[in-house]
């Protein structure tokens, strides 16, 4: 099951895995850590968060007046986060709050 959530006013009605592969970036969660501490993308981009741990995560994205909650993200299930509005976003795991990273949207 893939979960889609939308940020800001510009929403993408549906995004296929193929399109994500062409336009998005992937951040892995492994060892209770994001694979990168920071990421810069263009507005309208999508970040796919994968979960290579065997424990579940719960991604929360906050910034620019929006809050995005992935819900429980079980191992192996990707979470696709569209970033439609320029600004700086904090990404963390609600279950493991030491997991933190920043996404900057240009």
């Amino acid at each position: 099951m893939r979960k889609m959530f939308f940020l800001g006013a510009c929403c993408v009605p549906f995004t296929t895995g193929l399109a994500l592969a062409a336009t998005g970036l992937t951040v892995d969660q492994r060892g209770l850590s994001f694979s990168v501490p920071a990421l810069t993308i263009q507005h309208g981009g999508i970040v796919t968060f994968t979960n290579s741990d065997i424990t579940s995560h719960n991604i929360v994205v906050t910034g620019e007046g929006v809050r995005l909650n992935s819900g429980l993200q079980t191992p192996g299930v990707p979470f696709h986060a569209p970033f439609s509005k320029a600004g700086t976003y904090q990404v963390s795991c609600a279950i493991h709050p030491r997991m933190k990273m920043t996404v900057t949207v240009k």
């Binding site: 209770l32 741990d53 424990t55 079980t74 795991c93 709050p97």
Partner: protein
């Protein structure tokens, strides 16, 4: 130089750096995928190749700890923090110190089901241990303090805990010449204030490091350091019993928040971070270091023995939507439970002696 750990003896000063904590933990804390993947590795070259536990050992190796140079500002802050930690005048009644609940002789807890406040009032949660607390941010059972510096004022000023009035803190400390001198040496150019009190307490607490246990000696290559039952328990811990899903790494905690299916109305982390379903009734994963000395167990102290803890995880939990998806029926045998407990007991240092008495400067000095 001083060592402060669960025995409270002194020989080599150690502390845990705040800034580097999360980075080191990322390096040192295993995640179960890697653990399970490691099972398939060829360990033929290892001297313990026939032992399935060998695959997991590196994930539990203790990290080196920082040292603090004698006479440095940091050492002075630690010394000041130690005085403040044992200072009973930092409570409303002047009878209660941090150590009243975080007793070094009781693995930096109090042995009670839940804590007691300055008025003798019963608190709602069990006193957490301070062992390895410098690595353990965020703090409190519900994680409401991101750092030790932010945590320290909480119990001091909480009317239900030490109950010190905020406007009494600075006068209480400042009237004492020895404290004035100690603050001047520890925080040159800075006033005596809540922030510097908290910084000193934080510096001291980062020196509270669990002493090496039989398990650590086994990890470092002493095959006889723990029993065969404990070795079997270690494998179960990492596989069938799924304990390591949360109790991972050398501190045996993921510093995460999970609903483990205990009864009670306490919302735990959900009261701090609302709107996240898995955080309902979720509490921070406690370390298992010195666990044999830290009964009763759980955030509410509701389980008296390790045997009962295993029964809870085996079949005693309450199934509900927020229950951690790591928890489910385990069908552990009596021997499994025996072995798991043997392993957990190997995480405790044989010494329980407390820290030496610290006589804080008395009034008028």
């Amino acid at each position: 130089m001083r060592t402060l750990h669960d025995q409270g003896k002194s020989s080599t000063a150690t502390r845990r750096g705040n800034v580097t904590g999360s980075r080191l933990c990322r390096l040192l804390i295993p995640f179960l995928a890697a653990l399970l993947a490691a099972l398939s590795l060829d360990v033929a070259s290892s001297s313990m190749a026939s032992d399935p536990a060998a695959s997991f050992l590196d994930y539990y190796r203790r990290p080196p700890v920082d040292t603090v140079m004698p006479g440095s500002v940091e050492a002075r802050r630690i010394a000041l923090g130690q005085m403040l930690f044992f200072e009973r005048r930092l409570s409303h009644s002047q009878q209660m110190s941090c150590a009243s609940c975080h007793n070094p002789a009781l693995a930096w807890q109090d042995g009670r089901r839940t804590g007691l406040g300055d008025r003798g009032n019963r608190l709602s949660r069990r006193t957490p241990t301070l062992l390895n607390i410098g690595w353990s941010e965020p703090l409190f059972w519900d994680g409401r303090a991101d750092t030790l510096e932010l945590q320290a004022p909480g119990p001091l000023l909480n009317p239900d805990e030490m109950g010190l009035r905020a406007d009494r803190l600075v006068p209480t400390v400042s009237r004492n010449a020895a404290y004035r001198r100690a603050f001047g040496e520890a925080f040159p150019g800075k006033p005596i204030a809540l922030e510097t009190v908290a910084a000193a307490l934080a510096a001291y607490q980062r020196t509270i490091v669990s002493a090496p246990s039989p398990f650590d000696r086994w990890v470092e290559g002493d095959p006889g350091a723990i029993s065969a039952a404990a070795r079997r328990g270690f494998v179960l811990f990492n596989t069938t019993a799924k304990c390591a899903a949360c109790h991972m790494g050398w501190r045996f905690t993921d510093d995460g928040f999970h609903d483990i299916g205990l009864p009670g109305a306490d919302r735990g982390r959900a009261a701090i971070v609302p709107g996240i379903a898995p955080l309902e009734k979720a509490f921070k994963t406690p370390t298992l270091r010195s666990i044999a000395y830290r009964a009763p167990y759980m955030h509410d102290g509701s389980i008296a023995t390790l045997e009962q803890v295993l029964d809870h995880y085996d079949h005693g939990f309450i199934a509900r939507p927020s229950l951690s998806d790591q928890i489910g029926p385990l069908h552990l045998s009596a021997r499994d439970k025996h072995d798991l407990i043997a392993f957990m007991k190997s995480l405790s240092s044989p010494s329980r002696s407390g820290a030496p008495a610290v006589l804080s400067p008395s009034k008028g000095q």
